[in-house]
Symmetry: C2
Subunit: 246 residues, 2 copies
């Protein structure tokens, strides 16, 4: 099963049988080039996307062509599962890097939800983690200054990537430019650059060509007032997350 690659690294929340059912629903696996937009706001959707490899994001455009990222996705995430109940989205979805995605038609989800109530619950739960991440992002934008926002985001990425075996808590690849990071944190790229410099100079964290190296995790967490509880990573309720961190 291709989902083995990352999905198994996490606290097992989908049973093997359930993962098989989900994979049965996969219509095809595709590679997307960097920056490829796969969903535009308002479109009616007939499928959802499971991210197998690479990084994706979701964003809302403003009037002046600037955009606010509202989510970043790592391998194992069910990127637009919320599009299944919602039908049409309020934002765009795009690849950040070259990615591999598995396409799950909504018809397949209909069947899964009907036949396997336990999976229906886990899918719902999964979308609720996504919402919890939104709330953490609200906190980040509303209450933290530039340094705190960047620190908080890097902590989140480290935790989520570690959960799927893509970070050791110190170093990881992150397919983001400084401009992307700015769009996540509600800052200009110029200011983001300056803040990254001081973070580097103070020996807290270094970000170079999409490689992140955390030198002082404790200070980074404190700067970002980061508490990973909202990621529900240790959850083992019958509701627990079906895939990746979502």
């Amino acid at each position: 099963m291709f989902t083995d690659k990352y999905l198994r690294r996490r606290k097992e929340t989908l049973t093997d049988a359930e993962r098989a059912v989900l994979e049965d629903g996969v219509a095809k696996v595709v590679e997307l080039p960097p920056r490829k937009v796969i969903v535009e706001a308002g479109e009616t959707l007939s499928q959802s996307t499971l991210l197998v490899d690479g990084f994706m994001c979701r964003y809302i455009d403003d009037r002046n062509g600037f955009r606010q990222l509202v989510a970043v996705h790592v391998p194992g995430d069910f990127v637009d599962l919320h599009g299944y109940p919602l039908r049409r989205l309020d934002h765009d979805v795009a690849a950040l890097t070259t990615t591999t995605v598995a396409i799950v038609p909504h018809g397949a989800l209909d069947r899964i939800v009907e036949q396997y109530p336990a999976m229906a619950r886990k899918l719902w739960y999964s979308t609720m983690i996504d919402a919890a991440v939104h709330r953490a992002w609200l906190f980040r934008l509303g209450r933290l200054d530039a340094g705190g926002r960047i620190a908080h985001f890097l902590c989140e990425m480290s935790a989520r990537l570690e959960a799927v075996g893509l970070s050791d808590g110190r170093r990881f690849a992150l397919g983001l430019t400084q401009a992307d990071l700015a769009e996540i944190c509600g800052l200009t790229s110029v200011h983001t650059n300056r803040v990254l410099r001081t973070l580097r100079e103070e020996n807290i964290v270094t970000l170079r060509s999409s490689q992140v190296e955390i030198h002082d995790p404790a200070r980074l967490r404190r700067l970002g007032q980061f508490d990973a509880a909202y990621l529900y990573l240790d959850d083992t309720t019958p509701w627990a997350s079906p895939v990746g961190n979502l």
Copy 2:
């Protein structure tokens, strides 16, 4: 049925039979005093709260005792339905004003979800609207300046209250102090006060002792770059929202 009061005002999305089922699940109806905290982050929940009357909010505390509101609820909203799948929340839930709430034990939801798959979908959908609102708030905090944030929020409240018959699109009661508004918009209350003054002076909107009067809806919308699509108010899919705007 007590839910008639507001729930019927909206595009009918729960059938009468379904509303009856939901009301059957209500264990009790209670009144809460202003500022009453009903859920604290991390607690394990065994019930969810339907807001019948008044205003409630959800918020995340920072280290210094400041807080960021992550949601505001109006009558008809299922305030912490996400607590049903999540079990424990990543934030607090509190009343803003004196409120009336209906308590729905999670056991009752279990029964509903098992017996009525169509309602299970509608409940899921409802939590997805809540998440869509989170994303609009991310846009607000990340991309708009102080005036834009306040304008955007007031547009949202006007639209949501209008949907439940509590606003005529021009005037409505909003149980918020300027300090609350500041915590919603990621601003200080001092700055919020100044921005409100210019909004009043420019004859766009007046907020006086929790009464909002919109003098120039078009300019307010433009200022806040507001587009109500994310509220999915006109949705009539089989998924459509069960209650209030959530």
